[in-house]
């Protein structure tokens, strides 16, 4: 039995183009990435001090972004992650829904596959609909997009900071050239905090 969720045959957005356009429209946003391809997409769009890249801690991107969003309520916080990373931390959507941080936008680049490990199918190729999951957890402003045409709209919502937002972006199961962000977590942490005006110890 095969289930077509639209990720393999339906309309899709180019992941690099999408992330580049979205972040280009949000120059002041605080950005957290999941590990793997999503972090490469964000780095390829241009390294910024206000990017926090994960190289591990799989499942942690949305939770880390929650703590950040609560600490910085006057800034837009944007998570860019993939379906596999989001699935591992799926319960965090319930935790986020319980808090409803208005300044948090979660963007899941969903290709239905675990791209970093050899393109094995993920649950979103096998029946899981992340938008329904997010809504079920209590994130009312959850929707899917299939092209970069919606980038402006998503950027406007993120900048407005009116409601927790969850966006599933249908992308192709392709592997663009790797663009590796810095792996020194302490360096990335310190420059992120410095950009917000916080000193090291």
């Amino acid at each position: 039995m095969s289930i077509d969720t639209g990720t393999s045959k339906g309309k899709t957005a180019d992941r690099r183009e999408f992330v580049s356009k979205l972040l280009g429209a949000l120059p002041d946003a605080l950005v957290v990435t999941g590990l793997g391809s999503a972090s490469y997409d964000v780095f390829a769009a241009g390294d910024r001090d206000k990017n926090y890249y994960l190289w591990g801690a799989m499942g942690g991107s949305t939770s880390l972004a929650l703590g950040l969003a609560l600490a910085q309520p006057d800034k837009s916080v944007v998570v860019i992650t993939g379906d596999g990373e989001q699935l591992m931390g799926i319960g965090s959507l319930a935790t986020i829904a319980a808090k409803q941080p208005r300044n948090l936008t979660i963007v899941v680049l969903d290709n239905g596959h675990f791209g970093e490990t050899g393109m094995q199918r993920s649950h979103t190729s096998l029946g899981t609909d992340l938008v329904s999951v997010a809504k079920g957890f209590g994130i009312a402003n959850a929707f899917a997009v299939e092209s970069i045409d919606r980038c402006g709209d998503i950027a406007d919502q993120a900048a407005a900071r009116k409601a927790t937002t969850f966006v599933r972006v249908c992308i192709e199961a392709s592997e663009p050239p790797r663009a590796l962000p810095p792996r020194d977590g302490a360096h990335v942490k310190n420059r992120f905090r410095s950009a917000l005006g916080f000193d090291p110890f």
């Binding site: 605080l30 957290v32 926090y52 994960l54 190289w55 591990g56 801690a57 799989m58 499942g59 942690g60 991107s61 939770s63 880390l64 972004a65 929650l66 703590g67 950040l68 969003a69 609560l70 600490a71 910085q72 309520p73 931390g89 319960g91 965090s92 319930a94 935790t95 319980a98 808090k99 409803q100 941080p101 208005r102 977590g185 302490a186 990335v188 942490k189 992120f192 905090r193 917000l196 005006g197 916080f198 110890f201």
Partner: protein, 214 residues
């Protein structure tokens, strides 16, 4: 921004005899009456009040937790405090990332859990050492003192070792009179020196759990 319902309706936290993982065992329709009725304020043990005092004086702004009876006063106090975000987690590893995110955004945050939760956190602890995040967690112990439930034993016995294997300094408080000092020492090591610290709160602090109503 506090949670939507103001946080006052969660009855699981007001009955000290109920611990999170035990709730599914002890709760049944026959118990629904006393779960619903017993929400009068109770005086928390002094050592639990001491813990909240340390956190409040230390300017903690976020408290993430999976509940336990030993944390009930701190959780109630966090919910009631307009300057502290209370964050209930579905699993403890979320909390490791939440408190790191809070630090990234300039705030101090702590994680509360029981010993079984430490096992859920192990890989997520790599975030702390990979990026040198300060970290402070309070862990109520199970499976070590007159515990009726043998399923709490394996993780209870491995809790300290698991934390230390992942590079976290472990302190322990078993005497109610020493809780404040030890918690303060661990807290300062985390947020003044940038260390990663867990304080284990001995199961004897909470005492024997009553499993049967008489």
């Amino acid at each position: 921004m506090k949670n939507r319902d103001g946080g006052i309706s969660n009855l699981y936290f007001v009955k000290p005899a109920i611990r999170f993982y035990d709730f599914y065992i002890t709760a049944s329709p026959a118990h629904a009456d006393w779960i619903a009725m017993d929400h009068r304020p109770t005086t928390a043990p002094a050592w639990q009040q001491d813990i909240f005092k340390v956190l409040k004086e230390g300017n903690v702004r976020q408290i993430a937790y999976v509940p336990d009876a030993g944390h009930s006063h701190v959780i109630r106090s966090a919910i009631a405090d307009p300057d502290i975000e209370d964050i209930v987690l579905t699993t403890e590893e979320e909390g490791v990332a939440v408190v790191s995110g809070a630090w990234l955004g300039g705030q101090r945050a702590v994680l509360l859990m029981q010993s079984s939760g430490v096992g859920n956190c192990v890989n997520m602890f790599s975030l702390l050492s990979s990026a040198n995040f300060p970290f402070f967690t309070l862990v109520t112990m199970r499976g070590e003192y007159a515990d009726f439930n043998p399923w709490q034993g394996p993780m209870g016995r491995a809790t300290q070792g698991a934390l230390e294997l992942m590079g976290i300094t472990v302190l322990r408080a078993s005497d109610p009179d020493q809780v404040e000092e030890i918690v303060r020492a661990g807290f300062d090591a985390a947020f003044e020196a940038g260390d990663r610290v867990a304080v284990l709160l001995g199961q004897n602090l909470i005492g024997r759990k009553k499993w049967e109503r008489k």
